[in-house]
């Protein structure tokens, strides 16, 4: 079985994003970029499934600028076997990403596609579900535990009320939540080895996918800023404040 793992290059989660003064977006010039944290979890999960002898090959895919190669090299250094960069300088929306991934899945015929549940840049939380719809396959979103068993996969999902388990017939789509695993760091020898692993470069047009955006962003603004309030001296003062609020 092959596992396909889509990985996105996004602003590093430690960076505080700054809105551009002209309202056109967030300033990404000279900002540290990394693999979307949920996608690191996806790569890790794919590696664990392979290490358990349940998969033969892991293919990492990224849709993005030439620099997304770095993200793919990170996935290769962690343990993916080969990578595909679908190169474009345009912002590609989840629907178009899902269409490109569908085309790649048609070619590669993976048993599982493991994505992040959400990219921390656009916070869309939709690509995996869309891919599942386009492929006509089941989805185990917000995965906390994934167990491959023959031609089906059990996914324990993090839901608002707790946890839920579903059983899916493969091929299936899984999206990762934070508790699925703790991603490994790539070791130096593996980083060196990753440089020699195959990385194909394609264009959205190669898959016949029109990436024209459906949504136009007309403005990007700072959220209302909260002012820091006061610090109180001691517990007695805090309790007095709480009583003033009328909640106790």
């Amino acid at each position: 079985m092959k596992i396909l793992v889509p990985v996105k290059r996004v602003i590093d989660y430690n960076v505080k994003p700054r809105v551009k003064a002209d309202g056109t977006g967030v300033d990404l010039a000279n900002v540290k970029m990394s693999m979307n944290p949920f996608d690191e979890i996806a790569v890790e999960e794919a590696i664990r499934i392979k290490e358990a002898g349940k998969a033969e090959e892991i293919i990492a895919v990224s849709v993005g600028p030439a620099k997304a190669q770095e993200t793919l090299r990170t996935a290769l250094a962690m343990g993916a076997d080969r990578a595909i960069l679908v190169e474009t300088d345009e912002e590609v929306e989840p629907l178009a990403v899902a269409k490109i991934l569908k085309a790649i899945a048609d070619e590669e015929q993976p048993g599982l596609v493991v994505l992040g549940k959400q990219s921390i840049s656009d916070d869309s939380n939709q690509t995996g579900q869309m891919l599942a719809a386009l492929m006509g396959r089941p989805q185990g979103t917000f995965a906390n535990t994934v167990e491959v068993d023959g031609d089906s996969v059990s996914v324990k999902r993090e839901i608002d009320g707790g946890l839920e388990t579903v059983k899916l017939t493969m091929p299936a789509i899984v999206t990762t939540d934070l508790r699925l695993n703790e991603p490994r760091y790539a070791s130096l020898p593996n980083i060196m080895k990753a440089k020699k692993k195959p990385l194909d470069t394609k264009a959205p047009g190669d898959f016949g996918v029109d990436i024209t955006p459906r949504l136009t962003t007309t403005n990007v603004a700072e959220p209302p800023v909260r002012q820091a309030g006061e610090k109180v001296e001691d517990v007695a003062a805090l309790v007095a404040k709480i009583k003033e609020l009328g909640i106790a």
């Binding site: 505080k16 994003p17 989805q139 999902r157 707790g162 839920e164 007309t218 709480i242 909640i247």
Partner: protein, 310 residues
């Protein structure tokens, strides 16, 4: 515009998250509520009473009972022939189903809207709420998820919608529901509906300590309990306690953050709370930059003292 609201429910009653969605949908046009479930007559009747709902579609089928996206999405996509917009709550259930419908309709979903700015224009948070984007859709139909804290809740009484049966293809045959582990919160209010939330972070050490320190204070205040990702990852509390960018979004009257540093991912989930109170032993903790009332103290002394004095 004709809108379809995907009702979140437990077959017997309607979940609160739906009420904000009805308010958002009413800003766009006429509201039909879809109750897809199994033996869901109770939920359909409850939906019919929501103020602002003009019609209820009830799709009652064993295949819809557990809300499996593979079964529910084709039903919704089929019904969308008669509607211009689908609105679902930005809950784990809505986020699971709505994008699947969007792709079936060849539409880009607009996730987690904060406001309606025009018939096809909305604001939504990006980058953990550090930026608010205004987006306009060029799609023929709209698929939207709605942030519950951003819209008033529609009244649960006052409506008198008709209930009609609807049906779809039923079981897609590619997924099955196995089990659900849902903690019984007892008398404690639900996190996203609570007026007061007491949240604990990594500083709480372990699950026993968390319970010993946080629960008595929450009991005194009739509060729900939340947590940072660090506290959830470390197993102090279950995953559904997580507040933040990738957890639950809350906006209570009062949010009390205890031993939480205030990482941007945490702030994303609670900075719209009316009053924020923070207790942290580090006077430079970023949480104090958003807190209305701060106390620099060791929580293991301060919180029990506070609980005692309330």
């Amino acid at each position: 515009m004709n809108t379809l609201v995907l009702v979140e429910h437990d077959n017997a009653s309607v979940n609160d998250a739906t009420l904000a969605v009805v308010t958002a949908a009413a800003k766009l046009g006429d509201v039909t509520a879809l109750v897809a479930g199994s033996n869901c007559g109770g939920a359909a009747d409850a939906a019919a009473k929501i103020a602002g709902v003009s019609k209820v579609l009830k799709a009652d089928d064993a295949a819809y009972g557990e809300g499996l996206a593979e079964n529910v999405a084709p039903l919704v996509a089929g019904l969308m022939a008669d509607y211009d917009a689908l609105l679902a709550p930005a809950t784990t259930s809505g986020k699971n189903i709505a994008p699947r419908v969007a792709a079936m309709l060849d539409v880009m979903q607009i996730s987690d809207i904060l406001s309606v700015e025009g018939p096809k224009a909305f604001t939504r948070p990006i980058y953990a709420g550090n930026a608010i984007a205004t987006v306009e859709s060029s799609d023929a139909k709209l698929v939207i998820t709605v942030r519950g804290t951003a819209f008033e809740k529609a009244a649960t009484e006052g409506g008198s919608a008709s209930v009609e049966d609807a049906s779809g293809a039923g079981d897609a045959g590619i997924s099955t529901f196995v089990s659900r582990e849902v903690a019984d919160g007892g008398d404690r209010p639900e996190l996203t509906a609570a007026k007061v939330i007491v949240s604990g972070g990594r500083a709480l050490k372990d699950s026993e300590t968390f319970e010993q320190v946080i629960n008595p204070l929450a009991d005194k205040l009739g509060a729900a309990i939340g947590a940072s990702r660090a506290a959830v990852d470390a197993g102090y509390v279950p995953n559904d306690y997580q507040v933040g960018q990738t957890g639950k979004i809350v906006a209570p009257e009062v949010y009390i953050a205890i031993g939480i540093s205030g990482a941007i991912q945490h702030l994303a989930g609670m900075k719209d709370s009316k009053v924020i109170i923070a207790i942290n032993k580090d006077e430079d903790a970023p949480i104090f930059q958003v807190a209305d009332i701060g106390l620099v103290a060791d929580l293991f002394n301060a919180v029990p003292e506070m609980t005692g004095a309330l």
